[in-house]
């Protein structure tokens, strides 16, 4: 491009101001502008710890690519905690820190190599993780900005433990990172069917990351989320199964895996945001069946259809029917109308009780070039590059 940098209007700081600083400012002022940028784009409304600010500022300067920081909450619930390992640092010997670091790297490489995507936002956003969160914290979450992992039942004697640390399964790490991606792409609501789709996308790309890492075909993979997460005291193979929802565990203390695999078992519940972690079994299984029908590496075709649907088609209020229709449309635009791939998508949804419909098909828009976002434009500007 020969024109001056284009500054999208969604920038928080007036673009002319940053542009002025970029061109005429001192080094200090330019650093401040970079910091502002980081804060406005990724940490909106949140006061930053000085350390985190510095880390983020640094990652901005390196200009995208793989950039991980793992923090240690030291059994508190304060985020992000203290920096334990930054990008390029050697292993720490702290298992949770190193697993969070490696798992974020594996997920980044999967998205990069399978779909050409540069991180959560598609623009090299830094991957932030915190481990050792809370006491006896049997959970992992995405808080809108970063991944967070508990150590399971670390505070209990071994005979009483049900959960291992949540970094132990790479698909859990990819699940959390994909929540970040959903936040930047389809922005699916986290409630009822859109919420269950949000959950399902995280599970689908969670298992695909693991299959990619292990180079497993659809028929070789276990399709389990959280294999290895339960201790030997639990009767179960993992948290969820995409191949057979509802069968992952059946345990005297934890109860039975509540996931349905078909619309006729859809659970209308008020808790869990309307059962987002329960009814995700339905779209999860639709994906599994599609991949099973196609055979081979599931990330190549089924995964690609789901990825493009997430990136370009789904929106905040999409329900299961919309997801079925949209994946069917995307399969046609990628592989042709009536192709084996499109038929596999139809079969996938059919087996969970959803019939794809093309009646109300909205006009398909050709894939557009990824816009260069506000952040990257300004970073280029501040670093003296012209895009």
């Amino acid at each position: 491009m020969h024109t001056g940098p284009h500054l999208p209007i969604q920038c928080i700081v007036p673009p002319h101001m940053l542009q002025n600083i970029a061109q005429n400012g001192t080094d200090e002022q330019r650093a401040w502008a970079l910091g502002t940028l980081t804060q406005s784009e990724q940490f909106r409304g949140q006061r930053l710890a000085t350390q985190q600010f510095a880390v983020m500022g640094l990652s901005m300067v390196t200009g995208g690519g793989l950039n991980r920081s793992v923090f240690n909450a030291r059994y508190t619930t304060e985020l992000p905690g203290s920096l334990a390992r930054g990008e390029g640092d050697p292993p720490t010997g702290d298992l949770a820190v190193d697993e969070a670091y490696d798992g974020a790297g594996t997920t980044y490489e999967f998205y990069r190599q399978a779909y050409g995507r540069d991180s959560i936002d598609g623009q090299g956003m830094a991957l932030l993780s915190t481990v050792h969160f809370g006491i006896g914290y049997d959970n992992a979450f995405w808080n809108g900005k970063q991944m967070v992992y508990g150590d399971g039942d670390e505070d209990l004697p071994e005979a009483m433990r049900l959960f291992n640390r949540f970094t132990a399964a790479v698909d859990i790490i990819a699940h959390e990172l994909t929540h970040g991606m959903t936040q930047y792409e389809s922005r699916l609501n986290y409630f009822e069917q859109p919420g269950a789709l949000n959950e399902s996308l995280s599970d689908v790309f969670g298992v695909l990351t693991k299959q990619y890492l292990l180079r497993q075909t659809a028929d070789q993979a276990d399709w389990i989320i959280g294999a290895g997460l339960f201790t030997a005291n639990v009767s179960g193979v993992g948290i969820r199964s995409l191949k057979a929802p509802g069968t992952a565990y059946d345990d005297p203390v934890l109860g039975k895996d509540p996931q349905p695999a078909h619309m006729n078992q859809y659970k209308n519940v008020s808790y869990d945001n309307g059962g987002v972690h329960i009814n995700s079994g339905i779209p999860n299984h639709a994906f599994y069946v599609t991949a099973r029908e196609l055979g081979g590496f599931a990330w190549e075709k089924a995964g690609y259809i789901w990825y493009i649907t997430q990136r370009d088609k789904l929106s905040a209020k999409s329900d299961f029917q919309a997801a079925a229709n949209l994946t069917y449309q995307v399969a046609a635009s990628l592989y042709g109308s009536g192709s084996l791939e499109q038929q596999a998508v139809r079969t996938g949804w059919q087996e969970v009780g959803i019939t794809v419909s093309t009646d109300t098909e909205p006009p398909t828009t050709p894939p557009t070039e990824e816009p260069v976002g506000c952040r990257q434009t300004l970073i280029n500007l501040l670093m003296g590059r012209r895009s």
Binding site: G45, Q46, T76, T77, E78, L79, F133, G134, I135, G136, Y137, D138, N139, A140, F141, W142, N143, G144, K145, V148, D155, L156, M160, L162, F166, I172, H175, E176, H179, Q183, Y190, N198, E199, S202, G226, I239, V253, L254, G255, P258, Y271, D272, N273, G275, V276, H277, I278
Partner: protein
């Protein structure tokens, strides 16, 4: 003293619930809970302590305590929004709900 503790959501989506009458607990367990409630300053906490940012896979808690001759107090909270002093209390109640 009666306690109702519910945890929903989380990565697993597992709902756990416990209804506890401290009179039914071993005295040392009841005392420990009393102490944890005091340390968390539970009755002075606001009714809503939820995360300000939208997140996924958070645990959502609801804790109601009805003292022998007092007024019931309920606090709804998420993990990183609750004060640190709540942590040991939450852990104790989670274990009780799990039957441990």
């Amino acid at each position: 003293m009666k306690i109702e503790f519910e945890r929903t959501g989380g990565f697993m989506g597992l709902r756990i619930f416990a209804e506890i009458d401290t009179a039914d607990l071993p005295p040392e367990e009841a005392e420990a809970i009393d102490k944890l409630l005091a340390e968390a300053n539970f009755f002075a906490l606001p009714e809503e302590l939820t995360a300000s940012t939208p997140g996924m896979d958070y645990f959502h808690y609801r804790l109601t305590v009805i003292p022998e001759d007092g007024k019931a107090h309920t606090v709804r909270f998420t993990d990183s929004a609750a004060p640190l002093e709540m942590l040991p209390l939450v852990r104790r109640l989670t274990r009780l709900a799990r039957g441990q």
